[in-house]
Symmetry: D2
Subunit: 358 residues, 4 copies
């Protein structure tokens, strides 16, 4: 089940960076839905490489649905399989990597787990390329969720230590982010983030960052206690995105330094509904949604592929060996990670919604 996400909205991702195709099989889509291919394609384009801040690899990433639709183009209750061709794979760039694993990548650990049979080309199944079918699944979920009044949006919370402006977590700016590859509340901060990314690229280096995602319109009562709650499911899912090193909800790690009287969100009535004025709890209490916006952050490490020479080992010779990584790489994964985080959150929220049949 390693490549599968969800119980009722089940997304199984397959493919490697340089396999003929990548794709996903999605089970549990309610029957009778006509996928909005314009919306889905536009959403996937946000993740696609080619932007000013990303790798030069070109991918058309046109998704082809080969099962799951009836003759009217509606979902029919059968698993939907979507395929994406891998067209611009330059496998020759990666030949040396079978012997000398890249620091910070899964080359070494995969070689151990799969006894040297892992697909080393482009990172194989560990490649960020597999987030493309995840984005398809997420966009489909968003279309379904929108009909229920649920919206999902993410911003770049920080890059290279540069933080976007603080926001009111009880009223996240779903529509108020700046345009461009680094959606922020403050456009000037986004510019400084972009400069930091360019500076890292110029140095043959890379930088990390934090993505913050909000989901509004979720009714209270979704989720479950203990191990199947909102946080458990989202955390399991988000750690499936390559390079994520931390996940937090509401105030997250900052809560650990606070007192209870300052952290608790008091309840009050508002137009006959129970709300909290603040949203330090991030929309989930005891694993169950509270009706307040869901707030989750994922920390991305700096791209491990850097142009500088690094120290590694030769697996075949059992000795230290220098490594210079060829190929095309993002100096910062965060811009492309924004839609991926949105997609993963959408899949999980959709799954919880179906589990609870709200």
């Amino acid at each position: 089940m390693s490549n599968t996400l969800g119980d009722k909205y089940r997304v199984q991702v397959f493919g490697q960076s340089h396999s003929p195709m990548i794709g996903a099989v999605i089970e549990g889509i309610p029957a009778g839905m006509a996928p909005d291919m314009d919306f889905i394609t536009a959403f996937m384009a946000r993740r696609a490489p080619g932007g000013a801040l990303s790798t030069a690899r070109k991918e058309a990433d046109t998704p082809q649905i080969v099962s799951g639709l009836n003759e009217r183009g509606e979902t029919c209750g059968a698993p939907l399989c979507v395929l994406i061709q891998n067209t611009d794979a330059r496998s020759r760039d990666y030949d040396q990597l079978r012997d000398v694993p890249r620091p910070g990548h899964a080359d070494y650990t995969a070689a151990v787990k799969f006894s040297g049979h892992n697909d080393i080309r482009g990172g194989g199944q560990f490649s960020g390329r597999l987030t493309a079918p995840l984005c398809f699944a997420g966009a489909l979920a968003m279309q379904l969720l929108k009909a229920k009044g649920i919206a999902i949006r993410a911003r770049v919370h920080s890059v290279a230590g540069i933080d976007d402006a603080p926001i009111d977590l009880a009223h996240p700016p779903m529509e108020g982010l700046c345009e461009g590859p680094l959606p922020c509340v403050d456009a000037d901060t986004a510019r400084r983030m972009a400069e930091a990314i360019e500076a890292a690229r110029a140095d043959g280096d890379s930088v990390g960052g934090i993505v913050e995602c909000w989901a509004t319109g979720i009714p209270a009562g979704l989720g479950a206690p203990m191990f199947d709650g909102v946080e458990n499911r989202l955390a399991r899912a988000l750690f499936g995105i390559p390079a994520v090193r931390g996940v937090e909800f509401g105030l997250g790690f900052a809560a650990a330094a606070m007192r209870g009287s300052a952290h608790n969100d008091p309840f009050r009535m508002s137009d006959g509904h129970i709300v909290t004025d603040s949203n330090r709890h991030g929309g989930a209490l005891g694993g169950i949604t509270s009706g307040m916006p869901l707030v989750v952050r994922a920390a991305f490490k700096p791209t491990p592929s850097i142009a500088r020479e690094q120290h590694s080992v030769s697996l075949s010779r059992g000795e230290d060996a220098p490594l210079v990584i060829q190929g095309r790489h993002d100096p910062c994964i965060v811009p492309r990670a924004v839609p991926v985080v949105e997609a993963v959150v959408a899949c999980v929220v959709m799954d919880m919604a179906l589990c609870d049949k709200f």
Copy 2:
């Protein structure tokens, strides 16, 4: 599956704070193991209430194994059921809570999810009390892991913003922590943490903190790509502990502010083995163990139950209502959370070990 953890070492927890019993059913324990009840009881005592910094509730917490052993007292391949009596439950303390939910607790969200039928006594199934059977399952796993050369230890990384001394993540001090309810590298820091907890209690308030856990001796190659990796499983499990708001691995959120050249851990040979001198990756790359110590941190929010009057609502009257919480509560959950984090990590590592039959 909300109360169940693991695929091959499966722990199903049951019970509520004030039900007649709590317990767990554990499937997948290798046959032929004689549980070391002295070790298990001693481990569970670390979590039990009654210490200087915790609630006054008394629980003997003597675990009774009622299935899963053969006539020689060895595990026999059948599920092991362990029971713990709930003896000192004062249900009268909680009567008002069915109407006025406590801020920061699951009272409100559970009432929505379970249509008002949730067990409100002592927090019901959301109570920290359910970590007692988790500790049993974790101690059993530790006994099994010890035979494989795997050790697990946690420290208090911070309380109320007071940080313990930094350590070398490549060589965590498995044996070098100070005694007492707040195991730290630096005993003086532990004292200051204790003072901060006492100060909060004196103020009718509470504080949060961070627990850091290490696992050493895990071979490289355990885990899986994408959604079933080390981080995915541990995060799903750790967010099952009440009050956890964030989980991170290696440098975690701090990695997001770094450059790749500073964050990558170079590989090198050491006595014929592949190691990294630093351990910023925290023992897992691509969801698979690297052979370096596993490093994970969980952030705990301040205990939501505080003695001060708080604002809430009356569910029956649909209007704002003040709330003063009766009952006994920990001013800081962190001291008792230390063995719980160890136990959860042990269960997950044991599960991964069985999945990969190492």
Copy 3:
């Protein structure tokens, strides 16, 4: 998951024939239900030993619910744990069996699987004793299903080759079975079955039989295609009852000898509903309920424990060895299997109902 049945109405059974207790943990019971202990106890009594045709072992089998209820005795959304004491276990009867496995039992296969650590006393976890908690779970499901208009009933279809009278599968006699340990349409057949069982007992031998179960009131549309359909789930569940060797639906194996024109059930309108006059399909088409009564049969082999001397081997000496089985055994398991089949069918139907939230 070996001891677990169901996705949404999840029943985890634990215990061995001679462990201190046996029981079950049930997840997914809708909150707010007050278990009807009189009904449950009466249902469980149908399975209990002690009847004229069964073993002399006495078991009070009083179920004790130790979690999952709120202070009003209603289900609260937490897992319900039920315990049953093992009081009348005579372990000394079984000592020789660790060395000389009983033909037709799991003694040998369990010894291989669990490396000789299996609990041999009374058959350990393979004992029919574990159907007692299944009956509890089934009775609880029946109470819930009854409120939805769904009824479940089983008859003895045959014993020792003696068949009960044929019935109209479209209108099973839910209320028309004879009293006693062998519920049949034809009371005289039941008497002849009882005589065959007594004759086998007198010969130090045993007999098998077939149980047929019906469920009425299930709406059309429950279930799923392929591997999670009505038949898949029921078959997986029913083969969990000890001694079951075959499971069939509708006409079952008899359908294999027929022509399509004789086997197909034509649809027709009846009072605005779609029905079939005949019910050769047994209530499920393509894994999905049709609205007609569900019809399933399970074949039970003759009790493998017989009083006659049998041939076996000594595991310790690696040589052939005679075996005379001590202890108390049912000459025919079928009478006690009737409520067990009903219980298992009830659990599966309840699970499907919750999965589809009808």
Copy 4:
């Protein structure tokens, strides 16, 4: 999980009879295996239509592997996705079926479950066409099992009430079956079966039959007690093949008419191994393999699509309606079901083998 089979050797099937493609995603294939495409293609050809006794629909059924292999063509630990084009689909044949459901098919039940959005063309996801990717997965499993000394073979046990000759279940004739579409022990019986099929076709009718499958070389000790045993898993899987109405092991339903003394298989030593001379238990005791050949039978109903006019209803008009089925259909599914049963048994045995890492 409705389209997914297995825990460790996980096969997810997707597609509909007339979707652009059908296929499967297989997780858990051991890394480093080079699929034998000649063997796989030949195996799949046994299931393909076009034989003398089957539908006239032509399908090349060339499987295309689009993920899961490394640059050397070996499995790499990533999920393997295999695609098969649907080329000869004549959707116009099925237009009337959306309104008038075919007796014995899932048209009606699927329309209810999927609110009329089900893919009606060619039976949609309920089509026997989806057994093609199952055969791919089974052939791959067979290649892996062969390396462990495990062989799997099925025969036509009966067609239209005509039984093949009896065999010794302890020594199934793995190599001794007659050639042709109806592999039997007795070639003359196969001829009479073929005549019965042709006679049914000539009458615009169809016939059913029973397939018996054997697996040899499985070591003792695979499987699990209760709900995850050999029988549970095989039954769940086999009922996923369209038209299966019954599944039995060893003597199956016939055991119900026997006495224990005649049914038990005595153990004895043979060359240092524990065996049984007879194999009435069919290779599994208590859900765990005994080391004797696995014996399982699946009963197939007569093909519900017949040329004769049948009675049905118009869903749109809510009134009775006659039905004449157009299109091409097998007068007996049994010849093509033989490799499908082998494939499903191979997938399940492979899954159990990986679960127990033998």
